[in-house]
C-alpha cells in the first residue's frame, strides 16, 4: 500500500498586520498552517526578525554587538546601523532606561530618543517599554503620538495598562499595538478581547504571549504557543488570530549561560559570547517553530543564522 498522506488543512488564518511605511514596510502573520508547515498550506509572509537596540547605549553589550556598532556615537547612528544588519527586517527600540528602579530617565527624554531613532531609519520600528506598568502607560502613549504616521508597533500593553497604551497607540494615533500577557492562553485571549472592546481593531494587534530563555520555564512558553495556534487555526478563534512577536534577546542575554565570564563559569564552558549566541539562536528557533511570527534578537551572528533558517524553511 502506498503512503496515504492525509491533508491537515484549516479554514482559518492568522491576521496579517503591516508595520512601517513605504517599500520597507513588512507584514507579520498571514499563515494558515502551523509554523513552517509549508507542505500543508501558506506561510503568509513568513517569520520576520527584529534587531534590538536600547536607549542605554552599547556599554553593557557583548563584544560582537559592540564591534558591529563600532563608530556609532549617537542613538540615531546606532539605529541606522541596526536597520542595515544583514538578515534583519525591522528595528526594535527598547526604552530600558525608563525603569524607575534603574536609570529612571524622563518620559520626554525617551520620547526624544524614539524620535531620533525613527528619523534615522526607513525600516519599520517597534518600541518596547521599560517593563514598569505605570511608567510604560505614560511613556508608550506619548511615543505613539510623537511618531504618528510611521505605523510603528508599540509593545508592552498589558492587563494593567492596556487602556492607556491601546487608546493612544491603537485608536488616537493609528499605530499597531503589542498585547503582552503572561504565558497563558486564556490571559492572551482575554487581553485581545478587552483591547478590541476598547475599539482597537483586531487587525492592529500583535501578541506577545510570553517568553523565556530555553531551560528557564520555556515549557510553558511552548505549550502556550501550541495551544494558541491550535485554537486560532483549528477552532477559528478570532480573538487568538493575532500574529505573535517574541522578545528573545532580552531574555537570553540575561541568564547565566550567556553572562558568566569564562574564568567564572563552570569548567569547559568556554568563551562567554559563543554561549550567548547559542542561547539566542536556539531560543529563537524554538519560538519560531512553536508559533512566533517575529523574534527580537540583537547579536549579528544570531540574526544571520535565524534569517538563514527562515530562508531554508519558507
Amino acid at each position: 500500500m502506498p503512503f496515504n498522506r492525509k491533508a491537515h488543512k484549516f479554514n482559518a488564518s492568522i491576521n496579517e498586520v503591516e508595520i512601517g511605511t513605504g517599500d520597507k514596510a513588512i507584514k507579520l502573520g498571514g499563515e494558515n498552517t502551523f509554523p513552517f508547515y509549508s507542505f500543508d498550506g501558506s506561510l503568509g509572509s513568513g517569520p520576520k526578525i527584529g534587531v534590538e537596540i536600547t536607549d542605554l547605549g552599547l556599554d553593557a553589550e557583548p563584544e560582537g554587538v559592540k564591534a558591529y556598532y563600532a563608530g556609532c556615537n549617537t542613538i540615531g547612528e546606532i539605529a541606522k546601523k541596526a536597520a542595515e544588519m544583514p538578515g534583519g527586517d525591522f528595528v526594535v527600540l527598547r526604552l530600558a532606561g525608563g525603569d524607575p528602579n534603574g536609570a529612571n530617565k524622563s518620559v520626554d527624554d525617551l520620547v526624544a530618543v524614539a524620535k531620533e531613532v525613527a528619523d534615522a531609519i526607513d525600516t519599520p520600528l517597534v518600541v518596547e517599554g521599560c517593563k514598569n506598568v505605570e511608567k510604560d502607560a505614560d511613556l508608550l502613549a506619548k511615543v505613539a503620538g510623537a511618531l504618528q504616521g510611521k505605523n510603528i508597533l508599540v509593545m508592552s500593553a498589558k492587563e494593567e495598562n492596556y487602556k492607556a497604551i491601546g487608546a493612544a497607540a491603537g485608536l488616537a494615533y493609528g499605530q499597531k499595538v503589542g498585547a503582552e500577557s503572561a504565558v497563558d492562553i486564556n490571559l492572551a485571549k482575554q487581553l485581545n478581547v478587552v483591547m478590541t472592546q476598547l475599539g482597537v481593531p483586531a487587525s492592529s494587534i500583535v501578541m506577545n504571549t510570553g517568553s523565556a530563555a530555553v531551560g528557564y520555564g520555556f515549557d510553558y512558553t511552548i505549550s502556550t504557543f501550541d495551544r494558541v495556534r491550535a485554537a486560532a487555526l483549528g477552532q477559528d478563534d478570532k480573538m487568538l488570530q493575532m500574529p505573535i512577536i517574541t522578545p528573545v534577546a532580552s531574555e537570553t542575554w540575561a541568564v547565566k549561560e550567556s553572562t558568566a565570564a569564562e574564568e567564572d563559569a563552570d569548567e569547559g564552558w568556554g568563551p562567554v559570547e559563543a554561549r550567548g549566541i547559542s542561547m539566542e539562536v536556539q531560543t529563537a528557533t524554538a519560538c519560531l517553530v512553536s508559533g512566533s511570527d517575529a523574534v527580537i534578537l540583537k547579536h549579528p551572528e544570531s540574526v544571520k543564522t535565524i534569517s538563514r533558517l527562515i530562508r531554508e524553511l519558507v
Binding site: P2, V214, F218, S278, T305, L313
Partner: protein
C-alpha cells in the same frame, strides 16, 4: 488503525462470563477500545482474535532500545504530538559525528572531546549520548570496523553505512554494544535487514522521499523486521522538516503504524555551518527527532539545548518542587547569613548552585511558594512579605541566630514591608540573577557585612 468497541466485540467469545471483571463482553470491548483494559484480560479469547487485536490495540509508535547497560537508550513510544496533551515520554538523544574520512588523529581528538560535555542540571545528567560513525568514501571494511570499535568503546554508536561488506565487518566487531545499523534503503533493504536481524540490532531505514521510505518500511515489515528507526534526513532542510513532521503525524494523528517508529535526523548532513546546525538541532528536538546527529556537541551548544529538552519533556501537570526548609550550604551554622528564595526546583538548583560556588557559608531558606518561580509566585500572591516573615518567625528564628536576610533582586519591592514585619532583621536586596550571587557574597564578605 485503532478499533472501535463494536469491532472488538465481534472478536470476543460473547460468553458474558464476567471473568474479565466486566459485566458483559460488550462492556469489556468498550474498555479495551478506550485503552482502560488489556485484551489479554479475557481468558477465553481465541488465538486468531488475540493476534488480530493485539496488533490493532498496540501503541501507535514502537518503543525501540539501543545500546546496552547504563548506555541503553529508549526511543519512541510517544502517543501525542503536543506536550500539553500528555507528557512526552522518551527524550531526544544527541549524537556527535565522526567519519572514516577523517585521519586517526582527528578521530581520536573527537572521541576524546565527546565525554567532555557531561554535567548535571536539576538532577538530570546532560551528555552526548551517542556517536554517529559515518562510512567515508574509499574506506575499507577493516578500517570502518576498527573506527566503529573505537567509537563504541566511548558511546553507543550509529553505523551510517550503505556498503554491505563494511556493515558486516563493523557489526562483527561491535554488535554486542547494540548499535544502530543505519543504511537500509529501497535498493538494499533485504540484505541490510538480514544483517541487522542476524546481529540483533536496530535497523535504520531511509529513502529519497517520504513515499519511498514508506514503501521500504512496508517491505521490511513484510520480511518480519519491526526493529526499525526511520532516517528522515532528506536532501534539504525543508524536505527533512517535512518528513519529520509528516511521518510523526501520520503515526500519531492518523494511526498509520508503518510510520510508528522513532526517527533519526542527521543535521550534520544538512549544513556545515555550526550556528545553523545548532538552530536545526533545537528545531528537530521540538519537531520529532528521536536521535539528532550534529558534527560536534560542545558546551556552548549543549547548555541551551539540554535546557530546552528538559523543559520539553517535563510533565506539564505538576511543577517540580523542593521541600520548604532551611538548607545549610558550605558548612553553614546558626550564625551564618540567610538568603531566601522559592520552592520551584529550577530556581532552587540555580540559586543553591551559585551559593555553593561562592564558598560562603550561608543558610538558604525556602518557604512554600506553590512551586512557582520568583516573579510568578509573587504575581500570584504566593510569595509576599507576609508569607516570608511568617515562615521566618515560625521556622527560622528559633534555629538561626544570624539576623541578616538576603532577598531575590526580582522582589526588591518587598524590602520595606519585610523590615516592618521582621523586627530585628536586616533585609538586603540581592542582584536580579543567581549568577551574580558569587560576586555579591564575596563583596559582602570582603566589606565585613557578613
Amino acid at each position: 488503525m485503532a478499533l472501535s468497541g463494536i469491532q472488538i466485540f465481534k472478536l470476543t467469545p460473547k460468553k458474558n462470563c464476567k471473568e474479565c471483571g466486566c459485566p458483559t463482553c460488550m462492556a469489556f470491548s468498550m474498555k479495551v477500545a478506550q485503552g482502560a483494559k488489556q485484551i489479554s484480560e479475557c481468558p477465553h479469547m481465541s488465538a486468531e482474535a488475540l493476534e488480530q487485536l493485539s496488533e490493532a490495540t498496540a501503541p501507535p509508535m514502537k518503543t525501540i532500545k539501543v545500546g546496552t547497560g547504563d548506555n541503553e537508550h529508549t526511543l519512541g513510544g510517544e502517543t501525542v504530538l503536543y506536550r500539553h496533551e500528555k507528557t512526552f515520554v522518551n527524550k531526544t538523544v544527541y549524537a556527535a559525528n565522526i567519519c572514516t574520512c577523517m585521519d586517526d588523529a582527528e578521530i581520536d581528538a573527537k572521541l576524546a572531546q565527546v565525554p567532555s560535555v557531561d554535567y548535571d542540571r536539576i538532577n538530570e545528567r546532560m551528555y552526548t549520548e551517542m556517536i554517529n560513525v559515518n562510512f567515508g568514501k574509499d574506506t575499507t571494511p577493516e578500517r570502518f570496523a576498527e573506527v566503529a570499535k573505537k567509537a563504541a568503546a566511548v558511546r553507543p554508536i550509529i553505523l551510517s553505512v550503505k556498503d554491505e561488506a563494511a556493515a558486516k565487518a563493523a557489526l562483527d566487531a561491535v554488535k554486542d554494544t547494540k548499535p544502530v545499523l543505519d543504511g537500509a534503503d529501497a535498493s538494499n533493504y533485504e540484505t541490510f535487514s538480514k544483517l541487522a536481524t542476524d546481529a540483533g540490532v536496530v535497523l535504520g531505514v531511509g529513502g529519497a522521499s517520504i513515499d519511498e521510505l514508506y514503501d521500504t518500511v512496508q517491505k521490511l515489515e513484510k520480511l518480519g523486521n519491526k526493529n526499525l528507526i526511520l532516517d528522515v534526513t532528506m536532501d534539504s532542510i525543508k524536505a527533512t522538516f517535512e518528513a519529520a513532521v509528516v511521518i510523526r503525524r501520520a503515526a500519531l494523528a492518523d494511526g498509520d503504524r508503518s510510520f510508528g517508529y522513532p526517527s533519526i535526523v542527521k543535521v550534520n548532513k544538512l549544513t556545515d555551518d555550526r550556528e545553523l546546525q545548532q538552530s536545526l538541532v533545537a528545531l528537530f528536538t521540538l519537531k520529532y527527532g528521536s536521535i539528532v546527529v550534529v558534527d560536534t556537541m560542545d558546551y556552548a551548544m549543549a547548555l541551551p539545548l539540554y535546557g530546552l529538552r528538559q523543559n520539553l519533556f517535563t510533565d506539564p501537570q505538576k511543577p517540580m518542587k523542593v521541600a520548604p526548609g532551611i538548607y545549610p550550604i558550605n558548612g553553614a551554622d546558626e550564625n551564618s547569613v540567610c538568603l531566601t528564595t522559592v520552592d520551584f526546583a529550577l530556581t532552587y538548583f540555580l540559586v543553591s548552585g551559585e551559593l555553593e560556588r561562592s564558598g560562603v557559608p550561608c543558610n538558604l531558606i525556602i518557604s512554600d511558594a506553590g512551586g512557582l518561580s520568583v516573579l510568578t509566585s509573587w504575581a500570584a500572591g504566593k510569595l509576599s512579605a507576609t508569607s516570608i516573615s511568617k515562615y521566618v518567625q515560625e521556622n527560622v528564628e528559633g534555629k538561626i541566630k544570624n539576623r541578616t536576610l538576603i532577598i531575590p533582586g526580582k522582589v526588591a519591592v518587598l524590602k520595606g514591608d519585610l523590615e516592618n514585619k521582621l523586627p530585628g532583621w536586616k533585609i538586603v536586596v540581592a542582584p536580579l540573577e543567581a549568577v551574580q550571587l558569587v560576586k555579591f557574597l564575596k563583596d559582602m564578605k570582603a566589606n565585613g557585612e557578613i
